[in-house]
């Protein structure tokens, strides 16, 4: 079994953290079992933790716990890697720990239970970020659309969601991941279009849905707009061997050689809002 050390990001830049994620999953075969070595890890963030947890769940991979006491306590506190999958467990857990948000695992077959868990997660993220006018919609909208996307398009039965607020830095990081068929395969299966991973991301941004109905295909595009333009945040979506890295001022389509994520990873960062927000202009 391949042993992959998980290194600390050089700084708190979201792109640097994405670089660590890239290095972790470079040259990893589909469903290959991995031993993730966190023994030297001192600092972790959602864009790294969540995909690793999702991969462990998918492949029954293993991990070595961090030897750093703070990191170890944090990993235990967020219930890495198994997370929690019920609303009642989430509520109880949050009441007990107050500070940490556990990794939440949303299961398709749990229906209303799944929706309640997602509601609790979103509600907690909003309360943590602060209650300026319009912030509720701004926090709820991308989570709701991106999670819905998992169950509509990924064909996977499980979705993963995790967030962390950094009070000193005043930003919230959220990561949403699945280990389903990915964007390019979804286009191929649903529309017959053969696209590269990069082209599939471009189609998503143009709002071309894999479904035939009108009023489809808005979810990812408008979520990105809310995060980048409405909240001045950063947004990354990776699927297969490509990723979009976006902010208010730039959008980059990044090729990821020797890397292939079977599914979709979305990670974004929202700075703590200083004033009122109105997202309605970004919903098109």
């Amino acid at each position: 079994m391949k042993n992959i050390p998980i290194l600390d990001p050089k700084n708190d830049n979201l792109i640097q953290q994405f670089g660590i994620l890239y290095s972790i999953f470079t040259n990893v075969g589909e469903k290959e079992k991995i031993h993730f070595d966190l023994s030297k890890t001192r600092w972790l963030c959602p864009i790294i933790i969540l995909p690793v947890a999702a991969y462990i769940a998918k492949t029954n991979s293993t991990f070595a716990q961090s030897k750093n006491e703070t990191a170890k306590a944090y990993l235990n506190a967020i219930r890495f890697p198994k997370g929690i999958s019920s609303a009642s467990e989430f509520e109880k857990y949050v009441q007990e720990t107050k500070t940490y948000v556990p990794i939440s695992i949303l299961r398709r077959d749990k229906g209303v239970e799944r929706e309640n868990l997602e509601s609790m997660f979103s509600g907690l993220m909003y309360r943590i970020l602060g209650s300026v006018s319009g912030a509720q919609n701004a926090v709820y909208y991308p989570i709701a659309e991106l999670v819905t996307n998992i169950f509509e398009h990924s064909k996977d039965d499980v979705g993963f969601i995790f967030g962390q607020y950094y009070p000193k830095k005043e930003y919230l990081d959220i990561c949403i991941a699945d280990t389903g068929r990915g964007l390019a395969q979804a286009y191929k299966d649903e529309t017959g279009l053969e696209l590269t991973d990069g082209q599939a991301i471009e189609e998503v941004l143009k709002g071309h849905s894999t479904k035939s109905q009108q009023e489809r295909g808005y979810g990812i595009r408008t979520s990105k707009k809310v995060v980048c333009e409405g909240l001045d945040g950063n947004f990354i979506i990776a699927s297969g061997a490509s990723a979009l890295v976006a902010s208010q001022s730039s959008e980059k389509l990044v090729s990821l050689p020797d890397f292939y994520w079977h599914g979709v990873i979305v990670a974004y960062r929202i700075p703590k809002p200083k004033g009122g927000i109105d997202i309605s202009g970004f919903l098109e």
């Binding site: 209303v112 509600g123 709701a144 999670v147 819905t148």
Partner: protein
């Protein structure tokens, strides 16, 4: 006496000519999934009266996808050949109302122009170098 009771029951039914489904109980405080809204169809069809109120009391938010599915449900129930139902959205917060209106107006008059996207295409090494220097 029996006649009076029967008369009262009949009057009450005439007064309350609708059924109510409480969304926060059937789904959640935040309604985001299409599949759960879609599942309401059976519940709505089962209702006795021809008007069914979907009551959004305590619902904080609905996603765009859920709003679309709700409008589809409303339209489907209205245009059925048999057992038509009038589905009404009641006790909606301003945010829920706003989302329903955005989706309804886009459904009625879809945006025809496609968004223009301008992506800079780079590889991961270039991205990381830029991130390090920035």
């Amino acid at each position: 006496m029996i006649y009076l009771l029967y008369y009262r029951h009949k009057t009450m039914c005439m007064e309350k000519q609708h059924n109510t489904i409480l969304i926060v109980k059937k789904i959640a405080k935040i309604v985001s999934s299409r599949d759960l809204v879609h599942n309401l169809e059976k519940e709505v069809s089962r209702q006795e009266h021809s008007t069914v109120n979907l009551d959004f009391t305590d619902v904080e938010f609905i996603s765009r996808s859920a709003a679309h599915e709700l409008l589809l449900l409303q339209e489907k129930m209205r245009t059925k050949t048999f057992k038509k139902k009038e589905v009404l959205f009641v006790h909606t917060s301003d945010d829920v109302k706003k989302m329903l209106r955005i989706v309804a107006s886009n459904k009625a008059v879809p945006e025809s122009s496609k968004p223009r996207i301008r992506l800079e295409k780079i590889d991961i090494d270039t991205l990381m170098r830029a991130a390090s220097s920035g």
